[in-house]
């Protein structure tokens, strides 16, 4: 394909539901009320009521087509390979959806008496136990709504622990420069000052720098936030020594569980010295994500932090029934409504029980195998940032390709034309022109091979027709967007007052 054959610039793909609205059109025919009608102003006296609410008016058929069209523009794991590093975009088994659609889960209310929702409470309790066993922790809170929320809770627990011991002066948290950006943000949100630690030439924590940073802040050290395997996809082989050094200084070890897919069933962070960690049910445990949630980022803790966990905890009572325990005097309080994103927990529970204790290790083993297969197959064309055995994802650096006028961004955009979701790019920040590929365990060798062929084809295009990359994507629903303009003039709202014609102009 030549650049000159390409379609024109972006145009409006789909009108909004407001734009297809016509006055008087309805989607449902309600039967006549068999009780007398009362004006709403009489039912809600003194409440300010809106006279006009411009809701769209469409038929059921139009509405169904509208959303089907919109969903067909989307790219998702049900449509194709999604090697977005650090996000664990594995297949979401449909049996999980069957589980959440059971009436005892889908049709209950958080205010129902406990005696009528025993099954749901048992799932919460069993999930706390299952995750504790998988993580090597003593207790788990299922409340956080996302990984970053889990980090925030984790740091709040560390703060509560130090405060309870009369050591609130501990105000420094060490975070690697390679960390997920949410790590320093979560610690800073809890009032901590961030102390950076570098990555060495192995791609691991620079031990000499870590020792120096601990020494500098020893008496005021609150903890260390570490992802293992780390953000370049490598296992921190000094982890036991690191934990010992932090504990000796009176700090606690926080584990960012974003990369737990490399360990599940094989190794337990609790055994590595982590005192508190979050895990993403929407990554490791196959709950759908990338569409706005709900996510779920449970937090596991060692016994020293258990008293501070948020309320309520699901408990099994002496009489064998299940309930929610609010009587926790040292608890930091509530971090989420009710007991967390319940149906996300049910999906993950179905997934864990499907594998069972004996087979969970197959997840991490196959995830690591697939990532290494791609690393080795691509290594002669795409330079690997740290050329050694990786865990569940591998990181490439395209800094040498700048001489062709091509950036990692251009490769990521071009892969869309081959029908794949792009890898993660420009993360971690310590790797220049970075592409991070995480295939997950749910992809077949045929899928991986086809992806390798596509990537090598793109590498060849870099030499023959780099403009093809710089102007990609060409055959996606939209062409390359002006990301800088979008960030500077962020405008996500559409109001019915705006003129339809203005947005439809090519």
């Amino acid at each position: 394909m030549l650049v000159t054959d390409l379609p024109p610039t972006n145009k409006v793909l789909l009108p909004t539901v407001f734009e297809i609205s016509r006055p008087g059109r309805v989607g449902v025919a309600m039967p006549a009320s068999d009780v007398g009608e009362t004006p709403i102003s009489e039912l809600l006296p003194g409440v300010p009521l809106r006279a006009d609410l411009p809701l769209p008016e469409v038929t059921e058929g139009e509405l169904v087509r509208h959303f089907i069209k919109m969903s067909s523009l989307n790219y998702c794991v049900d449509k194709g390979f999604y090697p977005l590093g650090s996000c664990t975009m594995k297949y979401n088994p449909k049996v999980n959806d069957m589980a959440v659609n059971l009436g005892g889960f889908a049709r209950i209310h958080p205010y129902q008496p406990e005696s009528t929702v025993q099954g749901a409470l048992e799932v919460l309790h069993s999930m706390q136990e299952n995750l504790s066993a998988i993580l090597g922790m003593d207790a788990v809170s299922l409340h956080p709504a996302a990984g970053a929320h889990g980090e925030l809770l984790g740091m709040m627990l560390i703060r509560a622990y130090h405060a309870h011991r009369g050591e609130s002066h501990r105000k420094f948290v060490i975070v690697p420069t390679a960390a997920h950006g949410t790590n320093p943000a979560s610690a800073a949100r809890c009032g901590y000052k961030i102390v950076p630690v570098n990555t060495d030439e192995r791609g691991l924590v620079d031990m000499a720098h870590l020792e120096a940073q601990i020494e500098k802040h020893r008496s005021e050290l609150a903890g260390f936030m570490l992802t293992n395997p780390n953000t370049v996809g490598l296992f921190e082989s000094d982890i036991l020594q690191i934990s010992q050094m932090i504990h000796d200084a009176g700090g606690l070890m926080y584990g960012d569980g974003a990369n737990m897919n490399a360990l599940v069933g094989t190794a337990r962070p609790g055994d590595m010295g982590f005192d508190v960690m979050h895990v993403n049910l929407h990554k490791t445990f196959s709950v759908p994500h990338g569409g706005g949630g709900p996510g779920s980022g449970p937090v596991g803790v060692k016994a020293i932090l258990e008293p501070f966990l948020p309320v309520p905890q699901a408990v099994k009572k002496a009489d064998g029934t299940f309930g929610l325990d609010y009587e926790r005097p040292l608890s930091i309080g509530k971090v989420a409504p009710f007991a967390g994103a319940f149906l996300a927990v049910v999906r993950a529970y179905a997934y864990i029980r499907h594998y069972g204790r004996e087979n969970l290790h197959r997840i991490s083993e196959d995830a690591v195998l697939n990532a290494n297969y791609l690393r080795v197959e691509l290594a002669d064309t795409f330079p690997v940032a740290y050329d050694r055995v990786c865990m569940h994802e591998c990181v490439f650096t395209l800094k040498e390709w700048k001489k062709f006028g091509v950036k990692a961004l251009d490769v990521a955009k071009r892969i869309i034309d081959y029908g794949y979701h792009p890898p993660t790019m420009y993360f971690p920040l310590i790797v220049p022109e970075c592409l991070m590929i995480e295939p997950t365990e749910t992809e077949s060798i045929e899928t991986l091979d086809a992806f390798v062929v596509a990537m090598k084809q793109i590498a060849a295009e870099v030499q023959t027709d780099p403009e093809l990359l710089r102007s990609a994507p060409h055959i996606a629903p939209v062409r390359r967007l002006d990301e800088a303009f979008a960030a500077r003039r962020l405008d996500l709202a559409w109001s019915p007052q705006e003129k339809f014609a203005a947005t439809m102009e090519d």
Partner: protein
């Protein structure tokens, strides 16, 4: 190859400094803006703030990432380039002229000697 004016001084964290008597004008290098990509937001300190060497004096956000700006020479901020607000692309287009960020009254002239020359910076970034 990025532009590295010979008359400026540089830090390893990709700031440039133009000395004019006791006044130092500070910005980010052409190499830095190239690595960052399109700049979309810049946060700068208020005039009057005292900065020590290596202090974070602001942040610059691009479509790729948020990066911190480090103080190359200690001193008091006497002027801030307010024109960048709403016109962030100036940092990409003119990093050494219109894209300057802050002016500082230098506290310790000896710190100038710790900065890199154009040649030193050039080898630092491998060009």
């Amino acid at each position: 190859m990025s532009t590295i004016p010979a008359e400026l001084k540089y830090s390893k964290s990709h700031e440039w400094v133009r000395f004019d008597g006791e006044i130092a004008t500070i910005g980010i290098t052409d190499h830095a803006q190239e690595e960052l990509g399109d700049v979309v937001y810049i946060e700068l300190p208020e005039a009057g703030r005292m900065l020590s060497h290596d202090d974070i004096y602001g942040t610059v956000e691009s479509v790729k990432a948020v990066s911190e700006l480090y103080t190359p020479v200690s001193g008091e901020v006497i002027e801030v380039n307010d024109a960048l607000s709403g016109a962030e692309s100036v940092v990409n287009e003119s990093p050494y002229e219109s894209g300057w960020m802050i002016r500082v009254r230098v506290k310790d002239a000896a710190e100038m000697d710790d900065l890199l020359s154009a040649d030193g910076y050039k080898s630092e970034i491998g060009e």
